[in-house]
């Protein structure tokens, strides 16, 4: 049975050049799959005036050029996509897995001790919990296509920094609320930085610019300084799948 029940989504104008579709099915996993399917279907359609979509957790922002297409036509295209989507189908049939080596604490992870005290854990426990899950890449965020991950199973959410840093370097591994991410590019940051990966995520010479896509999997694995130095500057690539 395909087609998304119309009562499972809210479709609303988000200004004259965007439409926001929100999932309200009550099933967060289904909402997430549907939002990303909408983005993929509209991109595949490649219609004049549909400039691109930004799918996140339970919403997708569909951007368009109002010189070329009316908001009414955009809403019809969204409805077409909804009619064709199987809300139960997995987003990615064969997700790839990316293993991200992390040097925890020290200069590369200045907030590790604070995260430990804020969550009532010790450092080793924070590091262990952070490495435990196989994270699903939920969406690509700022800066530069950060993989947005549902956070480690800390006992309480991690507050954001009261005063965001003006700049954090590329490769930092951070947590906030109940989320985790990796920064592909240097940018201001208000999340707690617990470590850093020596691998490069962003490559401007290829498309897409980052190797992972929503629906793929990420695992973190602890490394020491010698390993960090050895891996520095290498590109993050998917694990080989055993045939």
């Amino acid at each position: 049975m395909t087609g998304v029940d119309r009562s499972d989504v809210l479709i609303a104008a988000c200004g004259p050049a965007a439409v926001r579709v929100g999932g309200v099915s009550g099933d967060r996993e289904q909402d997430w799959r549907v939002m990303h399917q909408i983005a993929r279907r509209l991109a595949a359609r490649g219609e004049l005036g549909l400039t691109g979509s930004i799918p996140t957790y339970e919403a997708v922002l569909v951007e368009f050029d109002p010189m070329l297409i009316t908001i009414g036509a955009v809403m019809e295209r969204i409805q077409d996509a909804l009619d064709a989507i199987d809300p139960d189908a997995p987003l990615t049939a064969e997700p790839r897995t990316f293993v991200v080596p992390v040097l925890y604490g020290g200069d590369g992870g200045p907030d590790l001790d604070d995260v430990a005290s804020l969550t009532g854990l010790d450092r080793e426990e924070v590091i262990r919990l952070h490495q435990e899950p196989e994270y699903i890449v939920r969406c690509l965020g700022s800066p530069g296509g950060s993989p947005m991950l549902d956070g480690p199973a800390f006992p309480v959410p991690v507050p954001r920094l009261s005063s965001p840093r003006a700049s954090v370097p590329a490769g930092v591994v951070s947590v906030a609320g109940r989320q985790a991410t990796i920064a592909p590019a240097s940018a201001p940051g208000g999340w707690c930085v617990i470590g850093r990966t020596p691998l490069t995520l962003l490559d401007l010479s290829r498309e897409p610019l980052v190797p992972y896509a929503p629906g793929d999997r990420i695992r973190f694995t602890r490394i020491d300084e010698a390993e960090y130095t050895r891996l520095e500057g290498r590109a993050l690539v998917a694990e080989e799948v055993a045939a």
Partner: protein, 343 residues
């Protein structure tokens, strides 16, 4: 390459275009010219595709020397345009001879001036756009001594009668005044502000110095959210009016990060975004409520005006025998993936 320009003076100037429309789906902001109308007109006046690379000069003086005969146009914030000591007009095509020096100075109002050259500039593209991206570390920031190659220079078109202006193309020049009135539509989260949202239309806001291409920060009587529930990150449109913690209103512009966790109170219309691209720190801004339907009508009227101008320019250049670049013109103003490599 058969010549181009050499930059003589530059403080804040970049090579940009209408933006990286393929960026947001990959986590990059769209960026590009903050006053899209002026940028489009500049390219139309020299028979370029509207999305062709051009120079955006911000606030300060800028000068260059032509290294070939060039056809140039200057639009956007008013500046004095001086070609080898002779004042020339903005908002019309100007013939520049090889070796002549073009100096832009004394920006009196507005913030961004555009310089387009017939044939456009040969610069690197990322996802089909040359627009600078500070996060990705991409783009051409112009400094004194920088050389930009022009793809196709043209022979000079000289008016034998006192070197007067050649063209009367009837361009509608925007108003670059002191107070800006900015049209906004209701945002999808306006309900979270209840009655306090009306304050946006009653107060006057002052643009602060922390404003840039990412967003404008404004001081004034802030609408306060009536709910304090934590919001999960979502895609936010250009023009989103947000009230983050602190004492300033935030209006996102083309350099905005594509996701944010604040409710969207209102959204600035595409035409009003051009006005915000010309607003200076210290200036006053008022917001005016409009509808999506009304904003759509205005955008279409604006597009029709640009199309009429392009037709007039096309006619003039056909008569003068200037090689036109209309074959490159993509009416979307936004290169699509399949065409990017051909551009």
């Amino acid at each position: 390459m058969s010549g181009g320009i050499r930059v003589d003076t530059a403080s804040m100037a970049v090579v940009t275009d209408l933006g990286r429309t393929r960026g947001p789906a990959q986590g990059l902001p769209v960026n590009g010219a903050l006053d899209q109308y002026s940028a489009r007109i500049a390219n139309i006046l020299v028979a370029n595709p509207e999305q062709a690379p051009l120079i955006e000069v911000i606030a300060f003086d800028f000068a260059f020397t032509a290294q070939a005969d060039l056809l140039v146009s200057v639009t956007g914030a008013p500046m004095t345009v001086d070609v080898d000591g002779v004042a020339r007009s903005m908002w019309e095509p100007v013939s520049i001879g090889a070796g002549q020096r073009v100096a832009l100075s004394a920006m009196t109002e507005g913030l961004r001036t555009y310089i387009a050259v017939h044939g456009s500039f040969d610069v690197p593209l990322l996802l089909g756009s040359c627009a600078p991206d500070t996060v990705a570390g991409f783009g051409v920031v112009l400094t004194a001594g920088w050389r930009l190659d022009v793809r196709t220079p043209v022979a000079p078109i000289v008016n034998p009668y006192f070197d007067m202006s050649l063209f009367n193309l009837d361009v509608l020049i925007p108003y670059f005044g002191d107070d800006a009135v900015i049209d906004v539509t209701d945002g999808p989260d306006a309900g979270q502000f209840r009655g306090a949202g009306a304050r946006l239309f009653e107060a006057t806001y002052t643009v602060t110095a922390k404003s840039n291409h990412i967003g404008l920060r404004m001081a004034g009587d802030l609408p306060v959210r009536s709910s304090s529930e934590e919001m999960i990150s979502r895609g936010v449109p250009i023009g989103a009016v947000e009230v983050p913690p602190g004492d300033e209103l935030l209006v996102l512009h083309r350099g905005r990060g594509v996701t944010a966790g604040y409710p969207v109170l209102a959204v600035v219309t595409p035409l009003a975004l051009d006005d915000l691209g010309q607003v200076r720190p210290g200036q006053q801004v008022r917001f005016r409520r409009t509808t999506v339907e009304r904003a759509e009508e205005n955008v279409r009227a604006w597009r029709a005006r640009l199309d009429r101008l392009r037709q007039r320019v096309d006619t003039v250049y056909a008569c003068l025998g200037v090689d036109r670049h209309l074959e490159l013109w993509d009416p979307t103003g936004s290169p699509r993936p399949s065409r990017a490599s051909a551009a």
